[in-house]
Subunit: 237 residues, 2 copies
């Protein structure tokens, strides 16, 4: 975890007064993503898995459509730029998102077990309290896990890794620590994922999109409780 | 709070099984900000104080420099577009940020009292768990308070209101529920605010900027505890 954390001298104030301690603070890096020599975006992020972040971001933006589009990925020495060379670049637009069709079912106990594992894996969060996590799972276990200071970035990293390693997302679950707005729903739908589980709250547009797109949306999944906002039929007793 | 919340039928799962309830879900609106007939940005946000959000955003982006630059603000009927007519538009660039100079001091007890009041005021958070809050304060009380699904938006709304109502920010405090990255620090420095208090974690770049810019940075301010990351001299016993 060396690269993700900086140890800094700080003062802690509590009922017992003030004392100097050394604390772990999560690192932030401005990452510039370059696609075929064109600067596409600069994102504040955690300086790990930058290749996954760049690819996941370009995919979510609709600029690349598959792994086959990619010729080369170069992360520069200081890690502040990722250059992606693509054979073809798609026009950046959002096509009408089609409904996610999947008969997959999951039990409440399986959701709780996955969230438990998810929390256990959030090492950087436990150390710094300053990051979001995301994970691709099947109904039994976590397949891909990622942490980042940005809730969107954490999800892009998961999807970027899936894309580069040919890990299917169809019919699987995404677990996220972050709030679920419409943008998150669209990203998940684009990867044909029928189940989205969040530790936090959804927005009303998130719920509406989940209902329209056939995605089961679970929020406030904490301990042995959760709220099911959409397509409840996939959660069985 | 009618406009900020939608009541939706959901299922709650707990140790006692599953039951149908009606739950409050925070509303999300895509707001388009238009400056002198040019579309500047579309932000997912909470549909309140949209004039403040637009003005705060344009100020943070450096596109308008003061209230005097603004001729008219029109929020369209459905609230999905704010049109700002400006007498002059500044070139969008970030000048080197100068250091915040202020001799203001605050006691730990005053910080704790402000955070208590801040939490009390977070009505929408209490109802939905899905928003961030921000507040401008003096050492004794909250002067301007705002909530939004985005942590940046909540801060833009506070600053936009200050700008339009001629409420000075110099020498005051900003309290935020959200994580403190470098972007947040730059926004606060731009308003000459010497004290930034967060309920959450900072990043290492946030801490570095706070130190360089002369801003006292307090994180994890919860209950009777807090961490002081930078310019501790402003917090007195």
């Amino acid at each position: 975890m060396v690269d993700n954390v900086e140890r800094l001298p700080i003062s802690q104030v509590s009922g017992e007064g003030k004392r100097g301690v050394t604390d772990s603070v999560v690192m932030e890096l401005p990452l510039t993503i370059v696609l075929n020599n064109r600067e596409v975006a600069t994102l504040p992020c955690s300086p790990i898995s930058l290749n996954y972040l760049a690819v996941g971001f370009l995919f979510s933006e609709g600029l690349i459509a598959s792994k086959d589009d990619i010729r080369e990925i170069k992360v520069d020495g200081k890690g502040s730029t990722v250059r992606v060379e693509a054979k073809r670049v798609s026009p950046s637009y959002t096509p009408a998102q089609s409904k996610v069709e999947s008969d997959i079912k999951i039990s409440a106990a399986e959701v709780f077990a996955l969230v438990d594992e998810f929390v256990q894996r959030s090492v950087l969060f436990k150390e710094t309290g300053g990051v979001h996590s995301a994970a691709l799972c099947d109904t039994k276990s976590i397949l891909v896990f990622s942490e980042d200071i940005g809730r969107h970035n954490a999800i892009e990293k998961v999807f970027g890794e899936c894309l580069l390693k040919d890990i299917p997302t169809v019919g699987r679950l995404l677990v996220t620590s972050g709030r679920v707005s419409s943008e998150i729903l669209l990203k998940v739908a684009k990867r044909d994922i029928p189940l989205l589980v969040s530790k936090s709250a959804p927005t009303n547009m998130g719920v509406k999109l989940a209902r329209d797109l056939g995605i089961t949306l679970i929020g406030f999944a904490r301990g042995r409780k959760m709220n099911i906002y959409a397509n409840e039929w996939r959660v069985v007793a």
